[in-house]
């Protein structure tokens, strides 16, 4: 072990190369990961951050909250379905509104506060109370647009007073506004004149039920309806699943490249030290001892690469414009750190065969 560590200490230049390469790879992967997370969380926040375990949609909605059309009278039928603990109406409207500092993009969610579909990520103030009209909880992202508790946001001229903030609740990358079904419907009628005259229409029904509940049975409560779990509803949002799988395959391919870079680096290092390793074997070093040294070096290089790469990525995170949906999550960092370490060590393992093949007898006679 002394051998491995001294080699790094006294050959900082060459090890700096591999650490630099690894940190750039880690940086790239972390930024991609932050983008993947940002897109995913930004698109699906509104369906992940509520009490709902599943949603019931009209049959033609294909799992889209925006496209779905149900009636308030369906809520009671769904509530009576086997396994359902709570059912609540959900109205969704993608629109724009007037905030304190000008126009804002919005996704307005009409819910029945306290029932299924109520946000669970309140970070400031309170949620609108049941039956309270003209009040709304806002997505924390709206703070950037100057919205505070007590501000007013108007949609199509219908005002709502902000009474609280909920975190991680974007929908299709737009900040959300959580209000009563009544206020939601007024706003809908104001901006979508063609939908007027449907006083009991809602988009979908949020359901609280144990994870083991059969969703098909719930869907059967309403003719022609379908039901998806909250997670499936998130993935059914257009582009979400495709974005995640594309970015994840880029991330894992890049990590495989990290493994190859480490493999190549240590293969060269071992090649260069063949004569020395032959002599050390002749002196009584085992292949295992020499191999463990190389693996320790790869692990040290990987750890340093991860630390530097993460630092770079965080610094980069500070200068990314807020419009770019990025989210630096510790979970993702830990996963990527583990994968990099594994890729580095696996890469170095390829050198073991080379070390094992070095014949100590070549140390004598001076001819390799």
């Amino acid at each position: 072990m002394m051998l491995a560590i001294r080699e790094i200490q006294r050959g900082k230049g060459r090890f700096a190369t591999i650490v630099a390469a690894l940190s750039l790879i880690v940086f790239l992967v972390l930024v991609l990961g932050a983008l993947a997370d940002g897109l995913f969380y930004g698109a699906t926040g509104a369906v992940r951050s509520t009490s709902a375990a599943a949603y019931v949609f009209s049959g033609d909605a294909e799992g889209s909250l925006v496209r779905s059309r149900l009636d308030e009278s369906d809520v009671a039928a769904v509530a009576a379905a086997p396994g359902v603990e709570q059912a609540g109406p959900v109205g969704v409207l993608l629109t724009g509104g007037a905030g304190p500092q000008g126009p804002v993009d919005l996704a307005v969610f009409g819910i029945e506060p306290g029932s299924a579909g109520t946000p669970t990520t309140l970070v400031e103030g309170r949620l609108p109370e049941a039956g309270e009209a003209g009040a709304a909880a806002a997505d924390t992202r709206l703070r950037d647009d100057g919205v505070a508790v007590g501000s007013t946001i108007a949609v199509g001229g219908i005002p709502a007073t902000i009474v609280g903030f909920v975190a991680d609740s974007s929908y299709q990358l737009q900040p959300t506004l959580w209000t009563s079904v009544g206020t939601w419907r007024e706003m809908r009628d104001a901006v979508r004149p063609e939908l007027r005259g449907q006083p009991t229409a809602i988009s979908a029904i949020a359901v609280v039920a144990p994870a083991s509940t059969d969703l098909a049975q719930i869907a059967a409560a309403v003719t022609g309806a379908t039901a998806l779990s909250a997670e499936q509803t998130g993935l059914a949002i257009p582009g979400v699943e495709q974005q995640s799988s594309t970015l994840n395959s880029i991330i894992y391919t890049t990590l495989a490249v990290a493994g190859l870079v480490v493999a190549l680096f240590f293969a060269l290092l071992v090649l260069e030290k063949r004569e020395l390793f032959a002599a050390l074997k002749a002196l009584g070093s085992s292949t295992g001892r020499l191999g463990r040294g190389v693996i320790l070096q790869a692990a040290i290089a990987s750890v340093l690469g991860v630390v530097l790469g993460a630092l770079l990525a965080r610094l980069f995170g500070l200068v990314i414009p807020p419009e770019v949906p990025t989210l630096f999550r510790t979970d993702t960092l830990v996963t990527i750190a583990i994968f990099t370490l594994v890729a580095g060590v696996v890469g170095a393992l390829f050198s073991l065969r080379r070390i094992a093949r070095i014949d100590p007898a070549t140390a004598i006679g001076g001819a390799l």
């Binding site: 004569e275 002599a279 140390a363």
Partner: protein
Amino acid sequence: MTDAMTPGPTSEDPVLAATGSVPNGPGEPPALDATHHASALLRVSDVRKVYGEGHTEVVAVADATMAVDQGEFVALLGPSGSGKTTLISIVGGLLSPSGGTVTLGGSDVTGLSKKDLTAFRAERVGFVFQSANLVPFLTARENLLYVASLVKGTSRAQAQARADGLLEELGLGARAKNLPEQLSGGERQRVAIGRALMNDPDLVLVDEPTAALDTAMGRQVVELLRREIKGRGKTGIMVTHDLRMVEYTDRVFEILDGHLTHVEEPSALRH
């Protein structure tokens, strides 16, 4: 006998220098000589090494038999390709012979597994290579400590004390913290000698130690080797093709085309 072999005024004997003759004729065959060394520390019996098979068969060493006593420093002399490297590699546990046995202090080396051979080399054999082959990123002292770490149960403090003592004795006390690249060729070879002696081996094998050195430096190194090996009661074998270096040894085994031909007194080879 030891004293008689030490280089002294006799090495400048004008008669010998003038005639260049071999005064006491060719020595005995090593196999016969071995019978005179009943209590030899190292005994090589009928060792063969054959590479390839069938019509590509090459006999590198043929039925080598030799015996070296404890405290002896001998030379294995032969031209390149004579099999001296193969023979010394077998003796040092680096190569397995195709036949025959090597015993060191009564224990058979040839039967050892690869793993046991590694431990055997670390604990009982010291090697000095042609080009010192020190670890370039370890200081002189660390090069010595590294081989100590290869032997299980060596205490760190003990190893450090021994390394410091050896370096001092080899005149390298002031160079202990230097990296090999900061040392001269002779100093590097002296560090290599210290490394070979570090684990207090029974046998010290030296492979062409002067190949990379000029004559004066070469003589110094070989003289030092002799002093250390004999002073510590070790058994040393030096592979060389350099006749000038054999005067520092007690006996010379000659090898040609894989055959150990005879054993000489070094004085017989003086020229």
